[in-house]
């Protein structure tokens, strides 16, 4: 309880001080608004449904990209993890493509696919391939060798080997990979929308800025933050439920 109090002390104090200052100074600004006005703007954005449409667009693109890019990354990761020679052959190619910042592909996606969902999904997919590929490859490589011996002794077909031994054995770490990729997917989706794509939360917050509605802009900022936090917390909770505390490792890529 004391810990929770300490955790809340800082943000609550800051918000209160800001609210009082904004009211006493009769703040009129294009970039700032008192917390009470931001809350009111958030409420009205919910009331007219604008924020729900935007949220749906952003999350749809993010999850579609996560699914597409994650699947490609997972397939490649398992392949490279199982077959060491293939991994070594592909090393230079992967090292050459991976460091391209996902957002640099934006103009290419733009001329190839135009504005809209498809272009955003393509960029999110590219960004999601790499964390999943790297972590899945490591997970497959570190499967207990005994399990692979069992698979060989049972003369399982390659497909069965992957389906019945490799994926279940590596599942906790594959989930971690997807959890990290989900965070990346949301970030990339919002970034693409802010940079250029006229859909979703990113476009909505840019529109609020251009309309000089500071309260609405900050309302969107807070909502985007809440979605990021909720997604992260939800996936952490799911991971804990599915794989227990043992799987809650700190992962860095």
């Amino acid at each position: 309880m004391a810990d929770r109090g300490k955790a809340l002390a800082l943000p609550v104090t800051l918000l209160l001080v800001f609210e009082i200052w904004a009211r006493s100074a009769h703040l009129h600004s294009d970039s700032l608004a008192p917390p009470s006005a931001v809350l009111a703007a958030l409420w009205s954005a919910f009331a007219d449904g604008a924020i729900l449409t935007a949220t749906r667009d952003t999350l749809m693109s993010a999850f579609a990209g996560l699914f597409l890019g994650g699947s490609i990354g997972l397939a490649l990761g398992i392949l490279l993890g199982l077959l060491q020679p293939v991994d070594r052959l592909m090393e230079v190619t992967i090292e050459a493509i991976r460091p391209i910042p996902s957002i640099a592909l934006l103009p290419i996606a733009l001329i190839a696919l135009g504005f809209g969902y498809r272009m955003e999904i393509a960029i999110v997919s590219f960004a999601c391939i790499w964390p999943v590929l790297i972590l899945a490859r490591a997970a497959v490589r570190e499967i207990e060798p005994r399990l692979m011996e069992v698979a060989r002794a049972l003369k399982l077909s390659p497909a069965d080997r992957v389906r019945k031994i490799v994926i279940p054995a590596a599942l906790p770490r594959i989930f971690v990979a997807f959890r990290l990729a989900a965070g990346i997917a949301l970030i990339v989706a919002v970034t693409v929308e802010i940079a250029i794509n006229p859909i979703g939360l990113g476009a909505a917050i840019m529109a609020a800025q251009q309309g000089l509605q500071a309260d609405l802009m900050l309302a969107y900022l807070i909502w985007i933050g809440l979605i990021g936090f909720g997604l992260n917390a939800g996936l952490n909770l799911m991971q804990g439920r599915l794989f227990g505390r043992a799987a809650l490792v700190r992962d860095r890529t």
Partner: protein
Amino acid sequence: MTRPVIYWRIVSFVVAAAFVGLWQLIANLKLVSPVFLPGPDRAWASLVRGFTAGDLASKLLGTLEHMVYGWFLASVAGIALGALIGSSRTARSYVAPSLEFLRPLPVSAIIPVAIAMFGLTQTMALFVISFGAIWPMLLATIHGFAAVEPRLYEVARSLQMSRLAVIFKIALPSAAPDILAGMRLSLTVALILSVVCEILAGLDGLGHSVLLSARAFRSADLFAGVILLGVIGYLTSLMMSFAEARLLGYRRGVL
């Protein structure tokens, strides 16, 4: 390197070259319209032309400047703040939860706020890039400082080392692996945000130039720019690996 490793490396290069060949073949046969996909020959020619006759070098420099200034500012502020918060248990218990709450925030969402405050200017870009790049470093430094072996603090106390000496001789080196990992992540973030800021504010740099090439359907120039951005990403990550190998060499006995 042992001999087989070198052989594998060479073969791996050949495979990569084969992929470039395949790309050339697809472009030559016009399986994809040349408006969208130039061959590697045209992209390379555009790259060379850009550096010799065009202004690609200055665009490259522009992006590097945005990225490095923002990253440097974030590094200094992130490590200093992280050390301050991380070395005090009280400060950690008050500040860390708020930071953990902000961590999953897509940092690009701060761009509209920055535009409202600073307009479409270099200051805006610097603010956005350093704001985005500070998080990985701040959190890594706090974690590194919090995870210093308590026994080392006892050693420092029995030697009656000053507070400054404890920070520079015990805490910072102990947190170095975490801080370097944070710096690596921050560089990636800084590069991405530089490109986004250049696109949005029309600032001089590769981000703006690739967007203009795309709008004019000059696909060779577009690919040249994207390749250059990939090279920046590759080289910065190589630099970080080099720094890690130099600074963390003592860990080779453990690993």
